[in-house]
Amino acid sequence: MLMTALIAGLVLGGTYALVAMGLTLQYGIARIMNLAYGETMITAAFAAFILQSALGLNPIADLLLIVPGGFLLSWAIYALMMRPLVTRSRDRGALEIDSILATFGLLFVIQGVLLVIFGANYMSYSYLNVPVSILGANVAANRLLALVLALAIGVTLYLLMTRTRWGTTIRAVAVAPQSAPLVGIDVNRTARFAFALGGALAAAGGVVISMYQTFTATSGVVFTMKALIVVIMGGVGNLLGALSAGLILGMVETFVATYVDPGLTLAATYGIFLALLLWRPQGLFGKAAR
């Protein structure tokens, strides 16, 4: 029981961490508070569902198609929708409000399109649904694969961000957007790239989620919310923070669902969030935001 809960918590937490890393890139670097983030995920989950049922592709192959798709889609959203808002806003606060409002509209557009195409039913598909025994606990192989994928993508991203010149550029914009142009960094291009990269991570998260969970056209909102809470917990723009906070949240949710009541997982999430706001609003690992 304990072992099963522990592994399930790691799996869920790994997915949250993956998704939250994308959001922390979008909010921390591109400075866009994207409320349609979960919709990007759910779109990717539906895409994986179609590829799986129509073409018989497995989710690993899906990732190769869907992740670049998520990148391009988010790139286009930034270039078409967010860029004019960035140009228009005088300060960070105004951009925050504008981006919240614009992406709130986008949320309803994407959700509406998904509802028209797929209806409001719960979707799922079966992939690698065979039990694997780990230390006496039976776990579905697809869940283990989800955890491995989430960690692999997360660690790769972290290494790219900290070990390459290209990652340093992105982090420079996160730390000091005003000073970055002084050393020859094109802030606009970097912001657009970070936003698109965040979208690619959301798409990866969506595919990973679709491997082991049911989803509907309207479940994006909850994912956005949890990702936002993880981002705040980890500290805005902090990748390692998002990774560890995601794992913590996944653990807490699974333990509440196993030992208390599955209906109270969201309440547990909010409980953590409330405690965090009262105790450490700058995040567990981060510096004060603004």
């Binding site: 409002l101 028209v116 919310m225």
Partner: protein, 324 residues
């Protein structure tokens, strides 16, 4: 000025009286429309009361709306009606204080994130409570009065909301709010207690929204969490207030009336594409009318005045006007 004020008040009173007598002349369908209209004018005005001047985008409208409706559903057989309304307002106030106290001391984004999921949280908690403790998910509301009484109550609440909003706009509190919206640092240096001012306004706005939900609850007869915590309510309220202009007294009302009628028509004719059209409309408003219709019209008027004024006199370079 007092003449204008008296004129404005008598005009508003006459309009209110005309609206109050409307149910005697129209059919039941139109009374239903009027209820919806009064409800959304009140909701968007109450939303703008807090979010307009402070620019804290609240996405929690339906959380409070649903709390109001659900309180009525839970208590309508136990308590007399006025006490039920009072209880609903009390519950709304309590939750607003919890949310406000934990988020309004911080940057606006924390508030947005918290309110973003609040409706979903309350919906899941109510569902959990109903399933595990009371054992029934849906509830019935039977009231001894008809839709006309609901309409009059909403109309009274609407008038009260607009009046309170007008009073606040002229008071020290309103001035403090405007300064907070413009620059919090300046506001703090002026000796304004920022957190308390924001909290007071947020609580007031939340109580009004809760009351709208409570008053409208008998319209459903049957209530369950999925019905009263419908996120579209938050969305509609927001878009209405933004269209008209959240910083103007009549802005939200001006946005609510045409949009409510449009949404009625849309949901009857394009039920499947409803949320796509809504979302596109919303994005268009954010891009084209960032300050709302009223601000847009005022700017256009000011601009045409300046253009005609320029033809008559040569402007001196370096004045504040020229720099704009």
């Amino acid at each position: 000025m007092t003449m204008r004020l008296a004129f404005g008040f008598s005009l508003a009173a006459a309009a209110l009286a005309a609206l109050a007598f409307a149910p005697f002349y129209v059919g039941p369908y139109q009374v239903g429309l009027l209820i919806g209209l009064a409800g959304y004018v009140t909701l968007s005005s109450a939303w703008a009361l807090f979010s307009g001047p402070t620019r804290y985008v609240s996405l929690a409208t339906v959380a409070f709306f649903g709390i109001g409706a659900y309180t009525v559903a839970a208590l309508n057989e136990i308590l007399p009606y006025p006490l039920v309304l009072l209880a609903a307002a009390g519950v709304g106030l309590g939750i607003a204080l919890i949310v406000g106290l934990s988020t309004l001391r911080l940057a606006g984004v924390y508030f947005v994130i918290f309110t973003f999921g609040l409706a979903e949280l309350v919906r899941q908690l109510v569902t959990w409570y109903e399933v595990n403790v009371t054992g029934t998910l849906g509830r019935y509301i039977f009231m001894s009065f008809g839709p006309e009484e609901i309409y009059w109550q909403l109309l009274a609440l609407m008038a009260a909301t607009l009046f309170v909003s007008w009073c606040i706009g002229r008071s020290r509190l309103g001035l403090a709010l405007k300064i907070i919206g413009d620059d919090e640092v300046v506001a703090a240096h002026c000796g304004i207690d920022i957190a308390r001012t924001k909290l007071a306004l947020f609580a007031l706005s939340a109580v009004i929204i809760t009351l709208v939900g409570a008053i409208q609850a008998p319209r459903w007869t049957y209530i369950e969490p999925g019905i009263v915590f419908n996120p579209t309510v938050s969305f509609l309220t927001l878009i209405m207030a933004l269209l008209g202009g959240a910083n103007r007294l009549w802005g939200p009302a001006l946005g609510a009336v045409p949009l409510f009628l449009l949404f009625e028509w849309l949901s009857a004719n394009f039920p499947d594409h409803y949320s796509i059209i809504l979302g596109l409309l919303f994005i268009a408003i954010v891009f084209i009318l960032p300050g709302g219709v009223l601000a847009f019209v005022e700017r256009a008027l000011a601009h045409s005045k300046r253009v005609t004024g320029n033809a008559e006199r040569v402007r001196e370079p370096g004045t504040a006007e020229a720099r704009q």
